[in-house]
Amino acid sequence: MTGSRAATAFPPPGPGRVVRGVLLVVLVATSLGPLVLLAIWSISGRWLYPSLLPTEYSAASWRALGTESLGPALVTSGALAVVAGLVGCMLALPLGRALARLRGWRRHVGAVAAFLPVAAPPLALGTGLQVVLLSVGLGGTATGVLLAHLVPAVGYLSLFFLGTFTLFDARVEAEARTLGATPWQMWRHVLLPMLRGPIAEAVALGFLISWGQFALTLVVGGGAVRALPLEVFSLVRAGQDRAAAVGALLLVVPPVVGLAALRWAARRTTVAPA
């Protein structure tokens, strides 16, 4: 069954072109509008109420990027997110594979366990993690923040690999073993090449999860680890809208590019369906 058949055989019931047109306008306004607004704020100069657009423009906030707090925060966030994506993927791959091999009630227990760190409110999760990390001397350090970011990241990515391995044809593994492959050879020459696409997607996902973390960074970092979300938050609260808009754009661009890359990669996934 193809999508085009659906489009021609079953046009949407009820509302016609007018409703579609209205909804499209609403979508343009609500999806593109806020992002355009961020861009305008970031280059605005004088912009008093009730002007719809700035009366003066300035690149001062962008020029200040290299000298003020946003630049170092960008580097900190980037480093944390890259490491969280890579390490999170390395941890989640075997965990997700182990979960995917569960059957019956055990599989539901496994899925619940993986979803818990994803659904737990970051602040509530952070207060517990803070105590543990403080007790081992990692409170207020970048390493502690990274470990905290890994908790939801590994949860998300384990669920991701649980889905991936559920679709994976386990017979490939069995055949490799029958042909005498050791576990290491099977991973090196069979599984990893076949999972190249999902692994790339998982690293990107892990990056994005760490990139946007606010509460865990605040609680575990104790304000000493100045990642980009913390700086943007401080700027918004301080009413420094132009600098905050620059920071917000910096926070938005990598995830948008990441989403586009994920959608592109999804079309090239090489997992053999069962």
Binding site: M1, G3, A6, A9, F10, P12, P13, G14, L23, L24, L27, T30, S31, L32, G33, P34, L37, Y49, P50, S51, L52, G96, L102, R103, G104, R107, H108, V109, G110, A111, V112, A113, F115, P117, A119, A120, P121, P122, L123, A124, L125, T127, G128, L129, V131, V132, G155, S158, T166, G212, F214, A215, V232, F233, V236, A245, A248, L251, P255, V256
Partner: protein, 292 residues
């Protein structure tokens, strides 16, 4: 038969899988355990003898229950609005034409926007001198910001609910679109062949498929909104405080003896999350068993 005896009868794969689950759940379980110990007064700030005074004090405070009520209200409103938006997009733009593809792409755009940026956008768009207010001023509907209804720090959390609905509708739109693309075509075709009209087909076929398939994601969105902190910090009212804000407020109380109260509120939040996780898995398993 005990769970251990059943496990012993299971394979190595079961043991490894459940071990993986334990590894993943441990940080949350430690958090729950510590919060429980701190709630009983045996750990955390102001710890002394075990007792239920902290729990009693927090559970008898009106701030706790009003905060819980506002948290559930904002989460429910945001989830309902996000679901409605996602269903509209999925149903009205399900074709393969360029317009449908553009609309679906636009609907997904807020998905990668971090919650903090969504909150900041909420301030800049919904605030009394924000973009909506400027548009209203431009068309002569208002003359000054004070004439615009307050949607930032408003007592009903409407600005926060609208912002979170915008952010989370993208996630639900992805799932609703995928559901209609993969699950409904054969059944709809059969219904139409048997003479059902478009509205009848939607009510009896499309909507039930959408709703059952979306329910786990709807539960996930509810718990994400309920636990959201950064957007709430920027948009939510200061009285009553949403539960995540109440945790932060109690944790920084000038009275050190009261800082432990944060853990009781934290337990409430974690309890909501655990209930939601179980409900999520239960609804998902009914619709799509994980076993291949």
């Amino acid at each position: 038969m005990s769970i251990f005896m059943r496990l012993r009868r299971g394979s190595d794969a079961d043991l490894m899988g459940l071990g993986a689950g334990l590894v993943l759940a441990t940080p949350v379980l430690v958090g729950i355990g510590y919060a429980a110990a701190a709630s009983l007064g045996v750990a955390g700030p102001g710890a002394s003898e075990a007792g239920v005074e902290r729990i009693e004090r927090v559970l008898t405070e009106s701030a706790t229950w009003r905060g819980l009520g506002l948290t559930l209200w904002v989460a429910a409103l945001a989830t309902a609005l996000a679901t409605a938006g996602a269903v509209l997009v999925a149903v009205l733009f399900r074709g393969v034409g360029w317009l449908d593809r553009v609309a679906r792409g636009l609907a997904v755009l807020p998905l990668p926007v971090p919650h903090l940026v969504a909150g900041a956008l909420g301030v800049w768009v919904l605030g009394q001198s924000g973009e909506i207010s400027r548009v209203l001023a431009a068309v002569g509907a208002v003359r000054m910001p004070a004439e615009v209804p307050a949607l930032v720090y408003d007592r009903w959390g409407l600005g926060l609910a609208l912002t979170m609905a915008w952010k989370e509708s993208a996630f639900l739109a992805v799932i609703a679109t995928a559901l209609l693309a993969t699950r409904s075509l054969d059944v709809e075709e059969a219904a139409r062949t048997l003479g059902a009209g478009p509205v009848h087909t939607f009510v009896r076929i499309t909507w039930p498929i959408l709703w059952r398939g979306l329910l786990p994601a709807v539960i996930a969105v509810f718990v994400f909104v309920a636990g959201s902190y950064e957007a709430a910090m920027l948009l939510a009212p200061s009285d009553p405080l949403l539960l995540p804000l109440l945790v932060a407020d109690r944790a920084s109380d000038p009275d050190l003896g009261r800082r432990g109260d944060a853990y009781v509120v934290s337990l409430l939040l974690l309890g909501i999350a655990v209930l939601a996780v179980v409900a999520h898995e239960w609804t998902r398993a009914r619709w799509e068993p994980l076993d291949p």
